[in-house]
Amino acid sequence: MFAYYLELALRSLKRNKALTALMVLAIALGIGASMTTLTVLHVLSGDPLPGRSSLLYAPQLDPRDMGDYQPQAEPPDQVTWIDGTNLLQAQRADRQALMTGGSVAIQPTQSAFDPFYETARYTTADFFPMFGVPFQYGHAWGAAEDATSAAVVVISSKLNEKLFGGRDSSGRLLRLEGHALRIIGVLGDWRPNPHFYDLNVKNYGEDEGVYLPLSTSQDLHLKHLGGADCWGNGGDDATHTAPCVWLQFWVQLDTPAKAAAYHQFLVHYSQEQKTLGRFLRAPNVRLRNLMQWLDYEQVVPGDVRLQSWLALGFLLVCLVNTVGLMLAKFLRRSAELGVRRALGASRRALFSQLLVESGVIGLVGGLGGLMLAYLGLWLVRRQPADYAPLVHLDGAMLLLTIVLAVGASLLAGVLPAWRACHIAPALQLKSN
């Protein structure tokens, strides 16, 4: 029966080519536009560490003075050196890492290369197991290297490619800001997006090329990169004593109970610091997990969200357009449908016949929309935004495109089909 309806549908569609083309075009445009923007949204609001993100938390404290004090204000996003090292040493979480961004000059030993700058991450050892960072060669450093400010470094696979042609470089020396550091590991494929652990540097795009112990970076006076928020007499400064927040602190808490306990610990710590006179404000702490953190930081650009609304509006207009055209088309075939009813076709049969026809339009429109989405995403990738190179259509979005297109046009076909098969057959026959 389905094959017969399909044949009828194709025949009917062929009869009025211009109108069919119009409906297909409308669906294709609507689907193409919304899939383009939804893909961008999907990529940008994705989970950077699936399976792990619910265990990772970004604790926030409020060490500021009473200037600009507003009750209920959010605490700063980063921590001071003193609080960071205190929380790190307290070891109250399953894992914890204190880190900050940096920028270092790499001086390749090959004379053909000019020195160049590479973004760096100065962090404590738990960074690697906590975020599940994969290694291609070698390994990460441990607590011992942190404690002794060892001259060790881990590099990204991209930097390894650039400097050593992709060969196992662990054990070799890397000249960095005039210091020689031993490479102990090369990362595997590691590019979490958004760049959740430090949104001060860049929300999307390239990750760091060089990772070294935070203690080592401080001993070598390496340059800090990223935001520093200061109060009182603090300049834009990243020193150990300045009243400035400039480090990121992340913890892993394996159960909700541990998270609750850690929250309690943070309140207690703030209270203690207030008693000591270091904190002036009442305890004001937050403990957001990774996805809540991204949401709070509004990491998805406002423009992208706006574009998604725009595209959905556009899809709605295209669907209304298609409903109108289908209604006109089906009602115009009243005579033909009347004959089929009079010959014994049930309403149900008529209804499914017409729905098959809308489904065919949807499928063709969806394929067109898919091509438009590919074109749209190609255009997005040519945009200057730093997230642009990440935007690709994955399998799930591909499937969603087709499902959305067929679903939308079936939906658009329901009303016209329902109206059309409620035509009284006798009336139609008589008017002929």
Binding site: A33, G67, D68, P115, D236
Partner: protein, 410 residues
């Protein structure tokens, strides 16, 4: 023309008519807001920087290793740059208007012990800043050479609260002066920074845009008499004739590299390129919005045309009868035009309400201002015109139906 017969016909095609009205309303609502968004972007991109944009070049370096003699190096660099043919002035500044990255912002307080800052401003500093950038002084004076203090002594003084090593004077941009002292002269007034560090206003400059966060007051900037070095993040800014920019940039880079080969060029561009970069997202967004508006209007026009040709096809017999009873081609043409006008008007009315609703949503979530009233009549006229153009083809075909059709069955 009597519109009663039109209304009664439309009454028989209620659903189709309402769908068309809905489509026009949605299009109207979206297009009004999209045009408004474009306008907002264009306005943003038009913000005056206040500096001699087409005359300026920026060169920024990073240094490998510690720079112990950075201040001596900076003076040598500036003197060398000044010698290059075509160079009118050179400066070493911490940041530039509309450069996107703010290195430095300050809160201004009007009284000591004031809890909250009265105004958040972008702070500029550097050597020879106003002259090179071409920022005019409206009143007061520029900094004297002996007022300039090195950044390396300012930072420790700031932490220690040591007033001796901090600047005592400041030049404020006009917007700041007007905001803080609406009815008085700003000259001679004292303002406070951080934990009550006093500074006296010695000059008021013409507008000077901030590097970013334009929503905090695009022209709220101040200038401190602080000297810094390229190793501390400063950029060399060269003023030249727009014609010579390429040549001067090349010679300047070569000269600076010759002085110290151990530096890495981070930035080398004209100010025009800097401005272009700063607004590239806005430009891209405006482009997308133009595309969406065009596509929406096209789809709506095609929808109207498609539906109209259906109605014409469906009513061929009726048209034939009317023609046989003496209706002229023009009568038939006007009938369809009026019908479209009626539908469009209902759609536009609903569309205005929708446009207002969407604008409220945008105001709530995207900090957009209220939609100016002028957008409503403009939107209405656009959709009326599009509706009439779209219906013209089918209506002309309807007018061409010969009266003899009335005598045929089907």
């Amino acid at each position: 023309m009597d519109i009663r017969p039109i209304l009664s016909t439309l009454h028989r095609h209620k659903i189709t008519a309402w769908l068309l009205i809905l489509e026009i309303a949605l299009t109207c609502g979206i297009v009004c807001n999209a045009v408004f968004l474009i306008n907002q972007r264009l306005q943003r991109m038009d913000i005056p920087s206040g500096i001699a944009e087409h005359n300026l070049l920026q060169i920024k370096f990073a240094y490998v290793g510690d720079q112990t003699d950075a201040y001596a190096q900076a003076q040598t660099d500036l003197a060398t740059l000044q010698q290059i043919a075509g160079v009118q002035a050179v400066a070493l500044v911490n940041q530039l208007p509309l450069s996107g990255h703010a290195m430095s912002n300050s809160g201004i307080k009007l009284r000591p012990h004031q809890r909250q800052a009265s105004l958040e401003v972008a702070s500029y500093y550097g050597q020879n800043l106003l002259t090179t950038l071409g920022v005019r002084l409206i009143s007061g004076r520029d900094f004297q050479p002996d007022e300039l203090i090195d950044l390396k002594s300012v930072l420790p003084a700031l932490h220690g609260g040591e007033l001796k090593d901090l600047p005592h004077t400041v030049i404020v941009a006009q917007a700041v002066a007007v905001r803080l002292w609406p009815d008085q002269s700003a000259l001679g007034k004292t303002i406070y920074f951080g934990n009550d560090i006093p500074m006296q206003v010695v000059g008021v400059s013409a507008p000077l845009a901030r590097p970013n966060m334009l929503q905090m007051g695009a022209q709220n900037s101040i200038v401190f008499p602080i000297r810094l070095t390229a190793a501390e993040g400063g950029s060399y800014v060269i003023r030249t004739n727009p014609r010579d920019r390429e040549q001067v940039l090349k010679s300047a880079l070569a000269a600076l590299k010759r002085l110290d080969p151990n530096r890495v060029v981070l930035e080398q561009r004209t100010y025009d390129e800097l401005r272009q970069d700063h607004f590239q997202d806005d430009r891209a967004m405006a482009g997308i919005l133009v595309g969406v508006i065009a596509a929406l209007l096209l789809v709506t026009a095609l929808g109207i045309a498609g539906l109209a040709s259906f109605w014409v096809g469906q009513r061929r017999r009726t048209i034939g009868v009317r023609r046989a009873l003496g209706a002229t081609r023009a009568n038939i043409l006007h009938y369809f035009q009026t019908e479209n006008f009626v539908l469009a008007t209902i759609g536009i009315t609903l569309g205005m309400l929708l446009a207002y609703g969407i604008n409220l949503f945008l105001m709530l979530h995207y900090e957009l201002p209220r939609l100016p009233a002028i957008y409503f009549p403009m939107g209405a006229i656009t959709l009326w015109v599009i509706g009439q153009l779209a219906v013209l083809g089918p209506a002309l075909r309807a007018g061409a139906v010969p009266p003899v059709v009335a005598t045929r069955s089907v």
